[in-house]
């Protein structure tokens, strides 16, 4: 229950027609993207397929491919026991095995198909008895390079499934799905209004330092997210513009990702220092969460909140804890093999990608509610002053506190 008397309802969420039309259009676009992503899950291109074909240099592609095979097979026969095959004088030298100059060439395959990969993956009866079970095998190596002593590490194939299939696909589903729900919410419900209308009286909410820190952190977060998305989804989003472009974008992104990390980390530390005491859990949060912050109704009666409500507290802790984990894993990745071996690095990379994608999805909601989702919300972070009626509806206890009004029985 608000400690202020609610006034008459002046503005309703459904009155924001332009916003609702915009939301509907964005929701439709996101639905298409979501369908594309679901199709990506099942389109069966998770296997690596050959893209380039070897052909005999002096032949046409269809015949040349067979001839290239014959050249390779002939040459392989030279590795048989010495008494049986050339180049020993007694042995037979297979035709095609000893030629000079460029005899094989490469041409791109016009329509790559998984046919070869499937054929290769199926052992014939000759090969089957030779196959040993997959196992991690490590010994010693005189080389000082990371993981040089490991001969075989089957976990690498699981890591590939983790990063290329699980994390990227589920991350895209989370980001697109969450954005779609928010756009749909805007289309159906409209903005969360200042129910009593603007009072034209302002209340100071965030000081210059608070706002500067917020924007430094948010701009660097958005740049980190965009560069990260380029690396994670470049093959889907940017490859149509050419491999050169993808390579340049990827190179820019790896360096950009490093560049935006220091302001992000600094912003996190300052924000934690400034806002931690306002974000400790309280009993008000249970009631706020139970009523979903009063977001779905146009009633002026919102659940009570101090400076930050339970939703903002969740965003704060996502930023501090999630961002903290991102910084920690990011530093580990920046100095490869300093803290961990190859297995530790693999898990760190997976954790970095997973948490990063989750944070992007979470902060899309934060950006939504701070801009188009709620009337008057952007003022708090942009000019630092909020409308008194906005404060009254969303942060009644905080308003009472700064106006020196003692609430009865709520302290």
């Amino acid at each position: 229950m608000s400690i202020y008397q609610p006034g008459p309802v002046v503005v309703r969420g459904r009155d924001f027609t332009a916003y609702r039309i915009g939301g509907a259009i964005v929701a439709a676009l996101l639905f298409v993207a979501l369908c594309f992503q679901v199709w990506e899950l099942f389109d069966g291109d998770a296997r690596t397929v050959p893209e380039v074909s070897w052909i005999a240099a002096d032949n046409t592609p269809d015949v040349g491919g067979m001839e290239a095979s014959e050249v390779i097979i002939a040459r392989t026969k030279l590795l048989d026991e010495r008494w049986r095959t050339g180049p020993s004088p007694e042995g037979e030298i297979p035709d095609l095995a000893l030629r000079s100059g460029v005899v094989l060439n490469t041409v791109p395959i016009e329509d790559p198909s998984p046919f070869l990969t499937e054929a290769w993956a199926t052992p014939d009866n000759e090969a089957l008895p030779m196959i040993k079970p997959s196992d991690r095998v490590a010994g010693i190596s005189s080389l000082p390079y990371p993981a040089a002593e490991i001969f075989e590490r089957p976990f690498a194939r699981d890591w590939r499934v983790g990063i290329a299939d699980l994390v990227t696909h589920l991350g895209a589903l989370a980001i697109l799905g969450f954005s779609f729900l928010l756009a749909l919410l805007l289309a159906i419900r409209g903005r969360v209004p200042i129910v009593e209308g603007r009072s034209r009286r302002c209340v100071k909410r965030f000081g210059l330092i608070e706002r500067a820190t917020h924007w430094m952190t948010s701009v660097s977060f958005i740049m980190l997210a965009l560069t990260g998305i380029t690396i994670a989804y470049g093959k889907t989003l940017l490859l149509p513009f050419g491999e050169e472009f993808l390579g340049d974008a990827g190179w820019l992104s790896t360096w950009g990702h490093m560049m935006f990390f220091p302001p992000f980390a600094l912003g996190l530390v300052i924000m934690a220092g400034m806002w931690l005491r306002h974000n400790l859990p309280s009993r008000l949060d249970i009631e706020w969460l139970r009523r979903a912050g009063g977001m779905m109704t146009d009633s002026p009666d919102h659940p009570s909140a101090r400076k930050f409500n339970a939703g903002q507290k969740l965003i704060f802790w996502s930023a501090v804890l999630g961002g903290g984990l991102m910084v920690a894993t990011g530093i580990v990745l920046m100095v490869p093999f300093y803290f961990f071996g190859v297995d530790g690095m693999s898990w760190t990379m997976l954790a970095h990608a997973t948490i990063g994608l989750m944070l992007i999805a979470i902060f899309i909601a934060h950006i939504y509610i701070g801009t188009v989702g709620m009337q008057g919300a952007i003022d708090a972070m942009w000019q630092g002053d909020v409308d008194r009626n906005w404060a009254k509806e969303h942060h009644d206890l905080w308003l009472a506190e700064i106006e020196g009004k003692q609430p009865e029985g709520t302290r």
Binding site: V52, I72, L79, E126, A127, A148, F151, A156, I231
Partner: protein
């Protein structure tokens, strides 16, 4: 169709490192990187075995699948090649490689490790086969000359076999039958038959 593979006979490898050395020399592989190395298992104990390992040119190659900038690609004989012009040095291929094949010069700061280098099966890269530029970036292109990887062709005990998988499998099988023992094809399950159960 031929399917290029490597097979190292652990009962024949004498840890002479000729494969690693000749590879490094043939391709002028830069300081700090090796395309082929020898791992010794159970060193100094009964049952000690040595095995030469490089890129195995896997079926359904995991490095190609995880590469964020499509630097890595596979050819129709299974050989996995890379394009140094697009590589961003992220290191994903190293985490996804079961055999530790991708190498980085470690010349730059902040985890970008310079462009990746790996075994090309002596088959160069995307540049014109046999060209000067191709040699500078990827080393010799022996496959274009109808030759097989140098590491296997120099192996004095013929422990390391390269070439068509059926052919080297047949050579190995006959050898095992003749001598009466054999440890199997190391790494083949992980590299070539990832979907096979057991």
């Amino acid at each position: 169709m031929a399917r290029a593979k490597f097979l190292c006979d652990t009962d024949r490898c004498i840890e002479c490192n000729a494969c690693a050395t000749s590879c490094k020399n043939e391709h002028e592989v830069p300081w700090g990187m090796v395309r082929r190395r020898v791992v010794t298992i159970n060193d100094g104990e009964p049952g000690e075995k040595s095995i030469a390992i490089s890129c195995m040119h896997c079926t359904d190659a995991p490095c190609v699948a995880v590469c964020p900038v499509s630097t890595l690609y596979q050819t129709d004989i299974g050989v996995v090649l890379h394009d140094k012009d697009t590589c961003i040095g992220c290191g994903y291929c190293f985490y996804a490689c079961p055999f530790g094949a991708p190498q980085f010069p470690r010349a730059t700061l902040f985890g970008t490790r310079g462009t990746m280098d790996k075994c090309t099966y002596c088959a160069g890269g995307p540049e014109e086969n046999g060209s000067e530029e191709e040699f500078r970036k990827y080393g010799r292109n022996r496959l274009a000359e109808g030759k097989l990887p140098l590491c296997a062709e120099v192996c004095s005990t013929r422990a390391l076999l390269a070439g068509d998988g059926d052919e080297i499998g047949e050579i190995y099988r006959e050898r095992v039958i003749a001598r009466g023992y054999g440890a199997g094809a190391w790494g083949w399950k992980t590299a070539y038959y990832p979907e096979e159960q057991g």
